[in-house]
Amino acid sequence: MDYILSLITFIPLAGVLLLLVMPRNNALLRGVALAVSLITFIASISLICEFKSIADYQFVENIPWIAAGSFRMNYHVGIDGISLWLVILTTFIMPIAILSTWTAVEEKVKEYMICLLLLQVGMLGAFISLDLFLFYIFWELMLIPMYFIIGIWGGKNRIYAAVKFFIYTMVGSLLMLVAIMYLYFKAGAGDFDISRFYGLGLDPGTQTWLFLAFALAFAIKVPMFPFHTWLPDAHTEAPTAGSVILAAVLLKMGTYGFVRFAMPLFPDATARFTPLIATLSVIGIVYASLVAMMQEDVKKLVAYSSVAHLGFVMIGLFALNQQGIAGGMLQMINHGISTGALFLIVGFIYERRHTRLISDFGGLSKQMPIFATIFMIVTFSSVGLPGTNGFVGEFLVLLGGFESKLRLWTILASSGVILSAVYMLWMFQRVMFGELSNPKNQVLKDLNGREIAIMTPLIIMIFVMGIYPKPFIDKMTPSIEKLIVQSKQKQVASVVLPPMNMAIQEMPAGHPALPTGHPVEAK
Amino acid sequence: MLSLHHYLILSGILFSIGALGVLIRRNAIVIFMCIELMLNAVNLTFIAFSRYLGNIDGQIFVFFVMTVAAAEAAVGLALMIAFYKNRGSIDVEDINLMKL
């Protein structure tokens, strides 16, 4: 089991290779893709079983990869309590995503499935990477399949959305790449192992710039206001599976990036920018909620609601205490489940009616009772009703925020609780309630077995996480404690580093690198 | 007595005339002749330096330049002929099929 992480990450790649050589038999292709994703999911279950609730990275693999010139990159992977659940979320969502467009995608099924599985490789890789360079590779790798998924199998305006998605994300991540390089040279000779960069004790000025570069990349991905405009476009145009994955996992890359990199790497800058980030998050919550309220397109509404939800996550993370971060992490998973489910729901009605305009619907409850029930549960999960998953995360986020310095922001953010009810219920009312007056809606069929099968695990998770979130929280607690220590440590300036404009010379080989994982001795 | 400077200034002037000719003349052959003028200005510089430094390297260099110039002339004129055959002109204002 030493290579379980690699196994999980690269099973989908094996699936890709298998699909490449297979004949163009759509049913077969779909089946194989589904089987591969299911195998991946089952394999990932073993992670939960064997995961110990400790702060250290587990299932670590560290293999030298590139060693040339002044650089050492390793294939260094491992997970801790923070990434564990995101990995599981990814493997969990994938079969659902594949099933979701089982019939909707009729053309180029082979390419489609290849893209989905490649995307999974990228996402899993990014979550398990403990080497900054490796992380960056996977981070970028995700873009390509997603670009094709939106661009090839998307809606009317798909090309615009796909290109916007790609370039917007690219701009942010390339600046992060420069920051990674700079950080590497600041740390002196060694490799890209992130634990080497923790506790580096950079001076606050440097931290500021590096943090900004990292934060921009992540903020675009999250997306935080005002970098969110690619999201509604991408979501609206993407096929259902694309939207689901985008919402459930890809956006989490941004928030995960903050937790794993931006915050612990640059504690001083984190402290300095906390008010700014919190302000943007609060604006995001209120603003996106108001905008969502007025949307005419269901999918766009859900997309904007994502922006609001992730605002909560950001507030929680930057509260920098146990409750806030745990809440933020839970909220990430919750958002993956409930917003993913919402996109699936939108997909169901879109497949039936080929429209997503709210005004085209009304009274569907009568015609589609099962659908109505599921939609209702998911809606209330998204709204954060106690007993569903959404509540636990949201509550912990707000509690954590309230305990931290972000009290005022938290109170403002709490108003999002009201607004989310407004826009979600209003939408629900207009779609599901009222008279079934449109003749096209009167012949709609209720969900079929496949669709119910897709939604069932999500609904189960909604309740499990809402009623018994303890295992989830317990597994991540030690890692969060460690993260808080790392992110809160104050600046230590015992390492004299050359000024910015001078060449950073390579240290002789064998020179001991900075102590890893521990803060440099304070003065 | 002519000093090094005189040679250098002369070659500088010749080079500039050549360069200017390339910029303002429109006939490809004339332009090519201007380029030859530039090369010869360079040759003059080399020779002057060689003499001044008492060093033969410059003169060798000039031989090479002359040889190469001859080769270039051959190729260049061939290209012009080919072009003229297709286009009926060697005016550089007509060499503008590809632009933007």
Partner: protein, 479 residues
């Protein structure tokens, strides 16, 4: 009178010798080969190239011909690039020139001669050798660019290239003359010695000479504002020749540029690094910006190649180990990805250079999925997206700049690559996201072209995923 036999060491120019002999032999053989069977000349030249590849010595530093040439890893590395470039070009030539109806046998010797010229540029340690290598290359290229002599565009490309190339040679030569005047020598090592003397390096003549030489090289590598010829010539020249020109001569230009500036003028680092970063910024930006609005794919790739010269200049500006080994790695990868892309363009194009617009690629992904996938890989590599060699190369280039403190340069560089993504994606938009209008039944994938594409894909992906060996090779090949 004593006849002092100059110290000659033919080992140092072994590959060049092999290639020259093969080329001249081919010229003779050409007379005997029927016009339909000129492909055999290609096979012969391939054999010559592979032979030359094996005569390249590694790990030695041998000076020859009175320090006119220097055989070291640096030159070997570049020789490999040139030979690969020639091999891949020759693989795609036959089909194309048959289609265009001008498969004259002189093509192959010319490519070989150009290769020889490039190799000389890479191992030149004397300005004279630099000049000779450059001219051997240029004269061959002038002809190659205008090789399709019945096509007026090809004529025009050749003529434009010739006029501007000769013009820039004038500047280069004048610069050499002034350096010679200031230092009294044409040997790079000796120039370096002389330049350590403040009186010499402070001499205005020396400075002007250096700058003029820089402009001459800038022309060869197509750095802005000396890039103007590139799009026109690349567009007009026969596609395989464009592929060749975009990869090989650019690498050769960099080889000579690096050799001269890093060895001969290290004491003027501050001065020329100023010049270089300005050139780098101008080049990247101009190339990328203008490429955005190009429809002709050859012209677009011409502008893209300008931009790539800009990226390489970023590494040059850094002139540290990462930067320079980055250049070497990047030029090698660029050879693969660019010639790979042109190989596909070659077979997609119709007779008379038709069908070369981006719009003509609509639906290629549906009709010819494998070809489209390969083109996509090349384009992603050009855009610098992992896991391709293009990404690793860019990483080293920009990391070099960051290491040296040129953070802003690196940032401008990455922003440029973000902008460049747009036009690479545009091709993919047409290939994959538009409905096909044609069924691409004229596209003939001959074994030679397929081989070329396979080499290119391997050359892009393998160093992209496991770049270690190539990077280490580049690291020991610094000048």
């Amino acid at each position: 009178m004593e006849l002092a036999l100059p110290q000659m060491n033919f080992l140092t120019i072994m590959p060049e010798t092999v290639l020259s002999v093969v080329a001249m032999a081919l010229l003779l053989v050409n007379v005997l080969v029927k016009s339909k069977e000129k492909a055999y000349l290609g096979y012969l030249s391939l054999a010559g190239l592979v032979g030359a590849l094996f005569t390249i010595p590694w790990g030695q530093k041998i000076s020859g011909f009175e320090e006119m040439v220097l055989q070291d890893n640096f030159s070997s590395f570049f020789s490999v690039i040139f030979i690969l470039c020639a091999v891949m070009t020759i693989l795609i030539c036959d089909g194309y020139f048959k289609k265009e109806g001008c498969n004259h046998g002189e093509l192959y010797p010319l490519i070989l001669f150009a290769t020889v010229g490039m190799m000389f540029m890479a191992k030149a340690t004397d300005l004279m050798t630099v000049f000779l290598g450059l001219e051997i290359l240029s004269v061959a290229l002038y002809v190659l660019a205008g090789f399709n002599r019945d096509n007026v565009k090809s004529n025009e490309a050749g003529l434009k290239y010739f006029l501007l190339g000769a013009f820039s040679t004038g500047f280069l030569l004048y610069g050499m003359a002034l350096i010679y005047g200031a230092t009294g020598t044409t040997k790079i090592a000796k120039i370096a010695l002389a330049a350590q003397n403040g009186a010499v390096s402070g001499n205005m003549m020396f400075l002007v000479g250096m700058l003029l030489m820089a402009t001459g090289f800038s022309f060869k590598i197509a750095a802005a504002p000396f890039h103007m010829w590139t799009p026109d010539v690349y567009e007009g020249a026969p596609t395989p020749i464009t592929a060749f020109m975009s990869a090989g001569p650019k690498a050769a230009g960099f080889a000579a540029f690096l050799r001269v500036f890093i060895i001969a003028l290290p004491s003027l680092t501050v001065q020329w690094s100023d010049l270089l970063w300005i050139l780098a910024v101008l080049t990247m930006t101009t190339g990328n910006i203008i490429a955005l609005s190009q429809d002709n794919i050859k012209r677009m790739l011409a502008y893209s190649s300008i931009a790539h010269a800009g990226y390489a200049l970023v590494g040059f500006t850094a002139h540290n180990a990462s930067g320079v080994s980055g250049i070497l790695f990047y030029l090698l990868s660029y050879t693969f990805m660019n010639i790979g892309a042109f190989a596909i363009i070659t077979i997609i194009g119709k007779k008379g250079e038709a069908n070369n617009n981006v719009q003509d690629y609509a639906g290629l992904g549906v009709k010819r999925p494998v070809l489209a996938l390969c083109l996509a890989i090349f384009l992603f590599s050009l855009a610098g997206i992992p896991p391709t060699a293009g990404f690793i190369g860019k990483f080293y280039l920009f990391a070099g700049a960051v290491q040296q403190g040129y953070i802003w340069l690196a940032i401008i560089g990455v922003l440029n690559s973000a902008a460049s993504v747009y036009y690479y994606l545009r091709v993919m938009v047409y290939m994959y996201m538009k409905t096909p209008e044609e069924d691409f039944n004229w596209v003939k994938l001959t074994p030679a072209v397929a081989l070329c594409i396979i080499i290119a894909v391997a050359g892009v992906l393998i160093p992209g995923i496991i770049p270690n060996s190539v990077l280490n090779l580049a690291a020991i090949s610094l000048p």
